[in-house]
């Protein structure tokens, strides 16, 4: 018994020693990777920080400083203007419509691409990215060409008294087009990685297609869906180029928040312009925080030992 114990001690000691040695070795190796001398490292990090401060943090600060430059009362008065309220309302409506549509389209497209093989799949994947690769102004112009007075459907629309351009439908369409890739892009890699085995298991256990979707597929991708919706919403509310082309800038009617900021700015109403801009800036900050939280959930959901 005592011999056994002595044995285990003598065994444990060199083991611990070896481990300590290995750790020291690893640390030395990491230090060797830092080939730059200390001052160089400090300069590089400082440059990055200064650049970020000037180009990212400073503008954000300026927006809020300008918005509150005439005091907090002027700020809220500017936001309470009917024109401002109308713009906020329109922005929310347009975002709700385009996020809703893109949620459905994005889910369907990601589902088709990740779970099935069909001819033209590569083409479809490429097509999904089109709104990202084309200038938003051109995206807007496409809708003018389609639905404008001189456009392909222009006369038919006028005959049937349907207003698309210079109205909510046109703005929603342009926004939907520009923000289409977000949900699909967030879901395709996630669904591809998860494969179809869990769905197959559900079906062989007797689940219907709908039961499989709501009980198995959707819970597995819910964080990805939220992530896509979040980015889609941020872009939908902030979109300027495409919306500017199709909106017609009718005050109090077809101006979204970004459009109103520009108009107010051009009219030298700085407090009002920056007050609305500050709302968009806050949306950006909230989006960033939510994005960080969601990304953590996304990584938690992936289980490395599953593969």
């Amino acid at each position: 018994m005592t011999m056994q114990m002595a044995d285990s001690v003598s065994l444990a000691a060199p083991d611990a020693e070896a481990r300590a040695k290995a750790r020291a070795h690893a640390e030395a190796a990491r230090d060797n990777l830092r080939t730059e001398p200390r001052p160089v490292r400090i300069i590089i990090i400082a440059l990055a920080m200064i650049f970020l401060s000037i180009f990212v943090v400073l503008p954000l600060v300026v927006v809020f400083a300008q918005a509150f430059s005439k005091g907090i009362l002027a700020y809220f008065a500017a936001l309470a203007e009917p024109e401002a309220l109308a713009a906020i309302k329109l922005t929310l409506i347009v975002a709700a419509i385009s996020v809703g549509l893109n949620l459905v389209f994005g889910l369907v497209a990601a589902w088709a691409i990740a779970k099935f093989d069909f001819p033209g799949k590569i083409f479809l994947i490429t097509l999904i990215d089109l709104p990202f690769s084309v200038s938003p102004v051109i995206s807007g112009l496409v809708f003018v060409l389609l639905f404008g007075a001189q456009g392909y459907f222009g006369s038919w629309l006028r005959d049937h008294d349907i207003q698309i351009l210079f109205a909510v439908p046109g703005i929603a369409l342009a926004t939907t087009f520009v923000t289409f890739p977000f949900v699909a892009r967030a879901l395709i890699p996630l669904m591809q990685e998860q494969g179809t085995q869990e769905e197959e298991a559900a079906i062989s256990l007797g689940a219907s297609g709908l039961q499989t979707f709501f009980r198995v597929t959707l819970p597995n991708i819910k964080w990805g869906v939220l992530y896509g919706v979040l980015l889609c919403n941020a872009r939908a509310m902030g979109e300027f180029g495409a919306v500017s082309v199709v909106s017609g800038h009718i005050r109090g009617e077809t101006n979204t928040m970004p459009l109103l900021v520009e108009i107010l700015y051009n009219e030298y109403q700085f407090v009002a312009a920056f007050a609305i801009a500050s709302l968009l800036a806050m949306l950006a900050l909230i989006t960033l925080i939510a994005k960080t939280v969601l990304e953590r959930h996304l990584h938690e959901g992936q289980d490395p030992s599953d593969h």
Partner: protein, 344 residues
């Protein structure tokens, strides 16, 4: 439940996964589909489950056409290679899934479902894990939960795709024995796919050996080991020595050297001679059909494995008992105790 497969063909692009497969599975049988990867065994399993569809051929359950039914209606329990447990559900909910998605008319009440799940978790001896998530389980535990989940729907047939493939050697051996005794207990017609011959021979009542989308042999584990029906089966099952020989006028030749082996009833031409490693008996030089020089000897569990360069050029590995004196450099005679010669 009996399963009958008639002339099943399935192609993926230009790849023939199944090339005319006929198979009858008896009621209550535990059948192994054994073959190398790409032999079509998993495709056959997925077609029986209704997860894939054949290009042509028939599939009958108890004599009735099963291809007319989808996977949902077939009541086939399927255990996936990587288990495919629902990662967002607890072990309990995983097992309960099949009961919860039943049509409202026949769905059991909550208390019955709970009792049934408890019973199944007891059966696989993992009741204490019911609140855990799949990512918190070991491979062997996941495997048994996947099995419990498949059994929850009281399947008419149980299909297992490489059930032990992703487990380490020790757990694999335990689970093998366990699966055998479980099958003995519940007696549902079961088919499992494996590329591991030991697994197939140890667990199954009958073994189906497949290669390149065709069935090479169907038989009991003893049959396929002792009397392989083709060169492929002999080479695939058990450790075999394979030598290219010529059959001419009742004489078997290895290179120029005539071998003292019976060639009765063999078609003349190029053939292949198969001998199990342990069926090569070592004797003094000149004593057997072969002669060779020992190159290398290594002790290997209960046997010693020797590399022998045969006169005629080819080097083979044999297994000899540990008490046989063998040293590198020795010249020895070798006599095959049992052998098979296949044409081609």
């Amino acid at each position: 439940m009996t399963i009958e497969v008639r002339n099943l063909v399935k192609t993926f692009g230009s790849f023939k996964a199944l090339d005319g497969v006929d198979l009858k599975v008896n009621d209550g049988e535990l059948l192994a589909l054994l073959g190398p990867s790409g032999s079509g065994k998993t495709t056959l399993l997925r077609i029986i489950a209704g997860l894939d569809w054949p290009d042509s051929g028939e599939l009958l359950f108890n004599g009735e056409d099963a291809l007319a039914q989808g996977a949902r209606e077939r009541h086939v329990g399927f255990v996936f290679q990587h288990y495919a447990l629902f990662r967002h559900m607890t072990v309990f909910e995983n097992v309960a899934f099949g009961l919860r998605v039943q049509p409202r008319a026949i769905r059991k009440d909550e208390a019955t479902i709970r009792a049934r799940v408890k019973e199944l978790l007891d059966l696989v001896q993992l009741d204490w894990l019911s609140g855990r998530y799949p990512s918190q389980l070991s491979g062997g535990q996941r495997q048994r939960i996947a099995l419990a989940r498949a059994l929850a729907i009281e399947p008419r047939i149980l299909l297992l795709d490489e059930p032990f493939g992703a487990l380490d050697a020790k757990v694999r051996k335990e689970l093998r024995r366990w699966l055998r005794s479980l099958h003995h207990e519940i007696h549902v017609t079961s088919i499992f796919v494996t590329h591991d011959q030991e697994e197939a021979l140890e667990v199954a009542n009958r073994v189906v050996v497949m290669d390149k989308g065709r069935i090479e042999q169907i038989g009991s584990p003893d049959d396929v080991y002792e009397s392989p029906a083709s060169a492929f089966v002999h080479g695939f099952i058990g450790e075999s020595i394979e030598l290219p020989v010529q059959v001419e006028g009742g004489i078997v030749r290895l290179g120029d050297r005539p071998l003292a082996l019976a060639a009765d009833g063999l078609a003349p031409g190029a053939s292949r001679l198969f001998v199990r490693r342990h069926d090569m008996l070592v004797g003094p030089p000149g004593s057997g059909a072969f002669e060779g020089a020992v190159q290398h000897v290594r002790n290997f569990g209960p046997v010693q494995r020797a590399e022998v360069a045969l006169s005629g050029g080819k080097t083979i590995e044999i297994d000899a008992p540990r008490d046989k004196e063998l040293r590198a450099g020795d010249t020895i005679g070798l006599e095959p105790r049992r052998y098979r010669i296949f044409a081609g």
